[in-house]
């Protein structure tokens, strides 16, 4: 049965690719209909089993970190790099990597799944580990309320047979119940720089949780990070930028230390220092000698943290806001972000450029230009001068901007 499905799936993949459809969803759909146990049968044979990474923010980069940490220890890791993070996307990724003979030569699967799809996935495939990052306001029009999102993650946690790695500083994730829990956390000093949605506008009553954590991010000075892992401290220079990436790395370290308990923590930290950010998340492009950095912002916490990490006097800033399905139709979250740290914004763009300009007006941040068309906006912004530049962007605007910039620049 599996061999037949592989043949069928690969054929569909080939046909859809020939017809120029990218071929992400259809092969998965065909397999789902004809052989519903396909994913389960393939993935449950992996010696280390399946790891699910979920939460509102940081899934993609964290999955990348976990994958690279495990690979550096010699494991063959299967992952869904394309970011099509639902069961069909996983099937397509399997089809691309499996031999016609049925040979699926991996030790472990590390999969990024959004909260709703993670639950559906767990109903079909047994998982060994889950890394749950955070529950923040994101695309409420898709998931409803954040308490509901937390319930989804609770279900994922109940399915993890070996261990669940939890962010102890997140008020909802920290409370998740599971048989074998492992926590990652922040030192008190760093916690204050890390507003959650609940205290975004009220930072007075923030205090660190008392749960003992396997890994804590102790200090962060520029790119210099200090982690406490098990019983020792480790310093390193990160390639990843931003406080949230440094913190998600703590989650990744806690997870890999649980999967490979014998490995020297120093090895993990050494590998971590070289991990680069994922697609569209802090990538830097060069246009006319000016560096342009793209920063994905999908919800208020991510935007707030990005502003805290990436605003200075040296850069020019652009913000691009779309309201397509993948961005969330409801853009009211922009009003939960405090923009006063921005000196000025050279360009606002995207479908909801005017909404962004309006938001900035109410925070007394000067907007020099509103240009809804992304291509025109990027062109004007990027070529205006040789100063380094940063673009804060929602998801679908990021995809477009990346395409526009790749056409102009040397990657």
């Amino acid at each position: 049965m599996e061999k037949l499905s592989i043949l069928l799936g690969k054929s569909v993949q080939k046909v859809t690719r020939l017809r120029g459809n990218g071929g992400s969803a259809l092969p998965g759909l065909v397999i789902e209909r004809t052989n519903p146990k396909f994913v389960r049968n393939i993935l449950s044979k992996l010696p280390y089993g399946v790891v699910v990474v979920s939460g509102t923010n940081g899934k993609t980069t964290t999955t990348k970190i976990v994958t690279e940490l495990l690979e550096a220890e010699g494991l063959k890791v299967f992952t869904n790099k394309t970011g099509s993070n639902f069961v069909r996307g996983v099937i397509s990724a399997i089809l691309k990597n499996i031999k016609l003979s049925g040979k699926f030569d991996y030790d472990i699967a590390v999969l990024e799944l959004d909260e709703a799809h993670a639950v559906k996935f767990c109903e079909v495939v047994p998982i060994n580990y889950a890394l749950l990052l955070n529950v923040q306001r994101d695309q409420l029009d898709r998931f409803g309320e954040i308490d509901h999102t937390a319930e989804l993650l609770q279900k994922v946690a109940e399915n993890a047979q070996k261990a669940v790695v939890l962010n102890r500083e997140d008020p909802r994730v920290g409370k998740i119940k599971a048989k074998h829990k492992v926590f990652f956390g922040l030192s008190d000093t760093l916690l204050k720089k890390f507003p959650s949605d609940d205290n975004l506008l009220d930072k007075a009553d923030i205090h660190s949780s008392t749960q003992p954590a396997l890994v804590t991010l102790e200090k962060l000075n520029g790119q210099k990070a200090s982690y406490h892992i098990k019983t020792s401290d480790y310093q390193t220079n990160l390639t990843l930028k931003g406080i949230y990436n440094a913190y998600n790395a703590a989650g990744a370290l806690a997870l890999v230390s649980t999967i490979l308990p014998e490995t020297d923590s120093a090895n993990f930290v050494q590998t971590l220092s070289k991990v680069e950010s994922a697609f569209g998340r802090g990538e830097v492009f060069k246009i006319n000698d000016a560096e342009v950095e793209i920063l994905l912002v999908k919800n208020p916490s991510a935007f707030q943290l990005s502003l805290a990490s990436f605003v200075d006097d040296e850069h020019d800033y652009m913000i691009a806001i779309n309201d397509n399905i993948a961005d969330g139709h409801d853009i009211s979250w922009l009003w939960n972000v405090d923009f006063k740290a921005l000196p000025s914004v050279k360009m606002v763009s995207g479908i909801r450029a005017t909404d962004m300009a309006l938001r900035l007006k109410y925070d007394d941040v000067k907007v020099e230009k509103i240009e809804e068309n992304l291509e025109t906006a990027v062109d004007k912004f990027a070529t205006a001068n040789k100063k380094p530049k940063r673009i804060f962007t929602t998801y679908t605007a990021m995809l477009e901007i990346r395409k526009i910039i790749s056409g102009k620049s040397l990657l």
């Binding site: 409420l140 409803g144 409801d330 009211s332 979250w333 009003w335 939960n336 909801r352 309006l358």
Partner: protein
């Protein structure tokens, strides 16, 4: 001139950019040389004297359950203020609880302030998406709705507006929100005030008139960006 704004349950009922509504009221006063002070009301606290504008937002179910008792406690005071003409804006969760009751899908009845003549029942699905309504006094109003409660106006209760595009109170009778004296209840967030400056100015004007006891005129502001954002929002698909 100085206006005092009361923000009801700012901690528990602050979903969907409600902070933006308060900010809009403050800024539009500030730009006209009117000073403002915002008082937040949390469960157990007393309502300060001299409140000129009342605002309350939406919350999650858990937030709602934390404020129900307190809301009933302060209901007579709120009612007296609104009867006297205090301009008020309540959105989503607090709009529902400003009615007679909210009946959950399990049949449990949560008592409201009964200031607005409405009743609400938990519905089977969420009504989600961009919404445009027509209001008799304030023209076209645009926002975003996301609610599972279905609200019915009792006989004699005025709607805030008529649905042009979207679901509104219940997805059936084309009504959206409710209005009593200068109290507006609505499902529209987005937040509602930045892109609908006429609604914000209505609240400010009524507050000034009540405070001074005579007719007032607000200085005209440059609302070019507001109007453009309003137009873009109306053009977006559901």
């Amino acid at each position: 001139m100085n206006l005092n704004i009361l923000h009801l349950y700012s901690k528990e009922m602050n979903l969907y950019g409600d902070h933006g509504n308060i900010l809009t009221l403050r800024k539009r006063c500030e730009w006209r040389g009117i000073k403002t002070k915002v008082y937040t009301h949390e469960p157990g606290q007393e309502i300060p004297n001299d409140i000129d504008i009342i605002f309350g937002g939406g919350g999650q179910d858990s937030g709602q359950s934390k404020i129900e008792k307190d809301l009933v406690r302060i209901a007579p005071e709120l009612k007296e203020m609104i009867e006297a003409g205090t301009p008020t804006l309540v959105i989503c969760g607090l709009y529902q609880l400003f009615g007679e009751y909210f009946e959950t899908s399990e049949g449990q009845k949560i008592q409201g302030t009964n200031i607005l003549g409405i009743t609400t029942k938990g519905g089977p699905t969420r009504l989600i998406g961009n919404i445009t309504i027509n209001t008799p006094e304030l023209g076209e109003v645009v926002g975003y709705e996301n609610h599972s409660g279905l609200t019915t106006l009792k006989p004699g209760t005025l709607a805030f507006g008529t649905v042009v595009n979207g679901a509104g109170n219940n997805g059936e009778d084309m009504t959206e929100g409710a209005m009593y004296k200068n109290c507006i209840g609505t499902y529209l967030h987005g937040p509602i005030l930045p892109k609908n400056p006429r609604v914000a100015d209505f609240l400010i004007l009524k507050a000034l008139e009540k405070k001074t006891g005579k007719a007032q005129k607000l200085a005209v502001l440059n609302d070019r960006i507001e109007q453009r954002a309003h137009k873009v929002a109306i053009s977006r698909p559901r």
